[in-house]
């Protein structure tokens, strides 16, 4: 018998696209709502829904908010710089994926 069989198996829920509320996102990243709102104003993350009460964020926002926080805290990058850095990093990531698909890594 495999030792793993003895552990209880946890079943989580998949965070579907555009399902996180502002509160959930802030809780998940340990940040204040003001910080997230300023990220939205800089269009670093883009929620669905017009009014702040009905904002819904994607799972990908979790990654961007936390990256943004680290860039700000560790490197002292301001919001405009964070926006630029994250966009360039994302483009780099896409290019790397593209390279891999072409089999030239």
């Amino acid at each position: 018998m495999n030792p793993h069989d003895l552990l209880p198996v946890h079943t989580g829920t998949v965070i579907e696209d555009d399902s996180l509320t502002l509160e959930q996102l802030c809780n998940a990243c340990g940040v204040h709502t003001d910080w997230v709102i300023s990220l939205v104003e800089e269009s670093i993350i883009e929620p669905q829904g017009g009014e702040i009460q009905v904002w819904r964020f994607s799972g990908g926002s979790l990654v961007r908010v936390r990256s943004a926080l680290r860039l700000h805290r560790d490197l002292g990058v301001n919001l405009a710089g964070i926006a630029l850095a994250l966009d360039l990093m994302e483009e780099l990531e896409n290019l790397r994926t593209q390279l891999k698909i072409m089999g030239r890594n």
């Binding site: 946890h10 579907e16 998940a28 979790l62 990654v63």
Partner: protein
């Protein structure tokens, strides 16, 4: 306990000015920041750098550290001399808590660590959500699976010290999950304080690289080697897909790099991805007389110049 040479870590001389310390930190932080860097060990180096900066940018800590003298070598076994820190007062407020070296803690203590934000306010506070990235195989997503993951996280013990806790969790990988998606495990994050609920554990999904397939979002790519005659004349070929092999029709006059799409045979997400076959034409080696003869025949029979567009006259 090993001595750490904070000047060496930052590439500075002992006489560096506070401005130089700051500039060196900024430069190295960009180089090793885990979000930006592709360097190996970036995370460990960034941590080490953070610790060095914590000491050297604070005039009091730097003075205390300098007092240890410059005869120590990095890695040398170290005990602080008695009363070395007499007369110094260290302020708290360290960067991120958790993870400075024993050397640092021996010198400056651990009292500076503040639990992140909310917990200080007191009662019935829900624990923080914690995050981890896990790597799964393509097959786990195609069929669904149960995987055991091991996590280590810094946690506060009852005395307020940081301890790195290791634990294993068995989790269900839901069918059709794609890279970049998150799974939320309720109540598996940091424990709450004052009877508050525990936070959640958020797992970001990434795929291990696969011997056959490559991924882009929900699409899967396969390089398919074909013979020149299969590409030229067309053929029916068996190709592997994650859900079993399928018969693929290669249209006549296919070229190197032609992409053939099998709709809906990518990852089984809500909108399933596609499966792309990329043709790679393989040339048979001309290593026998017969093979050479065939190539020579092609040379004589086919009027084929692949370099027409280069505009150079061929003889």
């Amino acid at each position: 306990m090993q001595y750490k040479d904070y000047y060496k870590i930052m590439g500075l001389s002992r006489t560096a000015t506070q401005d130089e310390v700051k500039r060196a930190y900024r430069k190295l932080a960009r180089k090793y920041h885990p979000d930006v860097s592709k360097e190996k060990d970036a995370e460990a180096k960034f941590k080490e750098l953070g610790e060095a900066y914590e000491v050297l940018h604070d005039p009091q800590k730097r003075a205390a550290y300098d007092k240890l003298g410059s005869n120590w070598k990095a890695g040398e076994d170290f005990r602080p001399p008695p009363n070395w820190d007499e007369g110094f007062e260290f302020k708290g407020g360290f960067a991120d808590g958790g993870g400075f070296s024993d050397f640092f803690e021996q010198l400056f203590g651990r009292t500076g660590f503040h639990p992140s934000g909310q917990e200080q306010h007191g009662f019935h506070v829900r624990g923080q959500d914690s995050h981890a990235k896990i790597y799964i195989d393509l097959e786990d997503s195609i069929h669904g699976a149960t995987r055991s993951i091991s996590l280590s996280s810094p946690q506060m013990d009852a005395q307020g010290y940081m301890q790195v806790k290791h634990r294993s969790l068995s989790i269900k990988i839901p069918k059709g999950i794609k890279p970049g998606q998150h799974i939320r495990l309720a109540g598996q994050g940091d424990p709450g304080s004052g009877g508050g609920k525990a936070g959640d554990l958020l797992l970001e999904i990434a795929f291990n690289s696969h011997p056959l397939y490559r991924f882009s979002d929900t699409d899967i790519y396969l390089d398919l080697p074909v013979t020149p005659w299969e590409a030229a004349l067309g053929a029916k070929i068996k190709v592997p897909t994650p859900e079993g092999s399928v018969d693929l029709k290669i249209p006549p006059n296919s070229r190197q790099g032609t992409k053939l799409r099998l709709k809906g045979r990518g990852l089984p997400a809500k909108t399933p991805g596609d499966f792309f076959v990329v043709l790679q034409i393989a040339l048979p080696p001309a290593d026998t007389e017969r093979a050479k003869a065939v190539y020579q025949k092609m040379q004589q029979e086919l009027d084929f110049n692949p370099r027409l567009s280069l505009g150079v006259k061929q003889r």
